[in-house]
């Protein structure tokens, strides 16, 4: 049993999602090697060696890997794969893009977004937008796995003492090229990493009204999310969407404001520890999953909440 775990990072810091993948990997037993692949990402490797449970860090540092193009990342991972029984990573957008390529090149199936480790080859994963949970068993010699991070606690970021080995083989398939990116800048915590999330739905009524929600978010040091209805109505950008087709979150506290609670949305937040629903419709399905509900006008409740927090 030997596990290759791919680190999630932005070339400067290790994304905490990686720590959830470490926990999932630890449940398999065996040595865990963490691969840090990127450009000028030594600082990430420096963090990786300290993570509890990591035996070794492989650092593949090249400008070719800067933007995490799947064609090049998958070629590198496959090159390293021979030494491992499991290849595992947090289901980030980079990994969702890359891992199926790795599996296909190894001629094995992929286990997508596992939520529980049953044994070294058997796992649970949600299907049908989380409306059913399948127990699946891999028959392949190498298991390629992505992890739904909200289902696993984060491993300790400090206390480990691994060595770093440099991997200097570089793959540039030359068929894809990074052109540009628009990343949303925000002073608030990242949606999938925040311990408190406050999300707005169609009930907010407009993009301007989201500021009412943002003021409460700032008081709680919370991330702001949205339902698909709010995104489709153009109130906020789509990277804030919480739901089956957006981000899956599981914070300590999730506050749903003006969100009716479509299955699509519930699939993205129902693993939250405490759920609060604020909605004028007392019959809205969101109240069936909420620990605490407030039936009323969000335009009165939000300013009051902001003032009293």
């Amino acid at each position: 049993m030997s596990i290759l775990l791919i680190a999630e990072h932005d070339n400067s810091t290790l994304n905490p999602a990686t720590l959830s993948a470490v926990t999932a990997a630890s449940q398999l037993g065996g040595e865990i090697t963490m691969l840090v692949v990127g450009n000028a990402c030594q600082s990430v490797a420096d963090e990786a060696v300290k993570v509890m449970g990591i035996s070794k860090v492989l650092l593949a540092d090249s400008d070719v890997y800067e933007k995490g193009l799947a064609e090049n990342l998958s070629a590198l991972i496959v090159e390293l794969a021979a030494d491992y029984s499991h290849i595992i990573a947090a289901a980030s957008s980079t990994i969702k893009d890359t891992m199926p390529r790795v599996a296909a090149l190894l001629d094995v199936g992929q286990l997508t977004e596992i939520v529980a480790v049953e044994s070294v080859d058997t796992f649970k994963r949600p299907i049908y937008a989380g409306n059913a949970i399948a127990t699946v068993q891999s028959r392949d010699a190498v298991k390629v796995i992505t992890v739904r991070t909200s289902a696993f606690e984060k491993a300790k970021a400090e206390g480990g003492n691994a060595n770093t080995e440099v991997v200097d083989v570089v793959f540039d398939m030359g068929v894809s090229r990074f052109v540009s990116e628009e990343l949303v800048k925000s002073g608030r915590p990242e949606l999938t990493a925040a311990s408190t999330v406050i999300s707005g739905g169609r009930g907010l009524g407009s993009a301007e009204n989201f500021s009412l929600l943002e003021k409460v978010a700032d008081k709680l040091v919370a991330a702001v999310g949205a339902s698909r209805a709010a995104v489709d109505a153009g109130f906020v950008s789509n990277d804030l969407q919480v739901g089956q087709t957006g981000k899956i979150v599981a914070p300590e506290l999730y506050i749903a404001v003006g969100i009716s609670g479509a299955i699509q949305h519930l699939a993205g937040m129902k693993e939250s520890k405490v759920i609060v629903a604020i909605n004028k419709d007392g019959e809205a399905p969101i109240f069936q999953v909420a620990d605490y509900g407030l039936v009323g006008d969000l335009f009165e409740i939000l300013p009051e909440l902001e003032a009293k927090l």
Binding site: D97, T122, Y128, S176, E181, V276, F287, D291, Y292
Partner: protein, 249 residues
């Protein structure tokens, strides 16, 4: 340029999913089936590229039992020119689908292959990436915008934290995200016309592909249900509960 679109027949997204009492699978008997929503977006994108004069022909492919021909006819009613049905007893797993599509690519030589990013039944999100790997072609997954310029496709992708645009050398594989477009509805005369469009029947053996089982489904269960909590009558009561009972603020 020829475009191949691969589509999947799945449970209609409005249908409530129920798990069979013997926990072998979800119950699909007498359930309304439809074109997978992400595949519908893939078909629409191909049609728009044809309407823009970039694509010359759209070939739609589906793999599965006889019933998938219904979804192939739907895609042709929307605007696909012809269809290939690769007949299998059940819906094969993603790697097998990718291997079959790789053979179709080899035979058809498309400039672009467009697929949904995932199906709403198995939620695997694998086929497009696997197809790109097997054919050693570039991929633009989770696309929210696609433009074709010469021998390149510019694909804007939805990634964690925002959007990222890549330039891919054609032939390339694109998988669709929700906001790529809003699919049209098929018009009645087009539904009639689609019945006469060519539909070719193939088997995995025709392509020399042996279907393998990599992943066994041992059990399917309903998810744990959350219990509804309590309704409070004021903001003060809420703050009190969050501070003193749940201890989360």
């Amino acid at each position: 340029m020829k475009i191949i679109v691969s589509v999947k027949r799945v449970i209609d997204y409005n249908v409530k999913v129920r798990v069979k009492s013997d926990n072998s699978d979800v119950d699909l008997s007498n359930v309304k089936m439809a074109l997978n929503p992400f595949c519908e977006i893939a078909v629409e994108e191909a049609i728009r590229l044809k309407e823009a004069g970039i694509a010359s022909e759209i070939v739609v492919v589906s793999i599965g039992p006889n019933a998938v021909q219904e979804q192939l006819r739907t895609a042709m009613a929307l605007g696909a020119d012809r269809a290939i049905h690769i007949e299998t007893e059940s819906q094969p797993e993603p790697l097998n689908v990718a291997k079959l599509l790789a053979k179709v690519m080899e035979a058809e030589e498309p400039g672009l292959v467009i697929l949904g990013k995932q199906s709403i039944d198995s939620d695997n999100n694998q086929v497009g990436q696997m197809l790109a790997a097997l054919t050693r072609r570039p991929q633009g997954t989770f696309a929210s915008k696609v433009t074709v310029e010469g021998d390149k496709a510019l694909v804007t992708r939805e990634v964690d934290g925002g959007l990222r645009t890549l330039s891919l050398t054609l032939p390339a594989i694109v998988t669709t995200d929700l906001r790529l477009n809003e699919p049209r509805y098929a018009k009645l005369p087009d539904i009639m016309k689609a019945k006469r469009k060519p539909l070719e029947l193939k088997t995995p053996a025709d392509f020399g592909v042996e279907l393998k089982q990599h992943i066994l489904q041992l059990k399917v269960e309903a998810p744990a249900q959350r219990q509804a909590g309590i309704k409070l009558d004021s903001v003060d009561a809420l703050i009190d509960k969050l501070k003193n009972e749940a201890k989360v603020i």
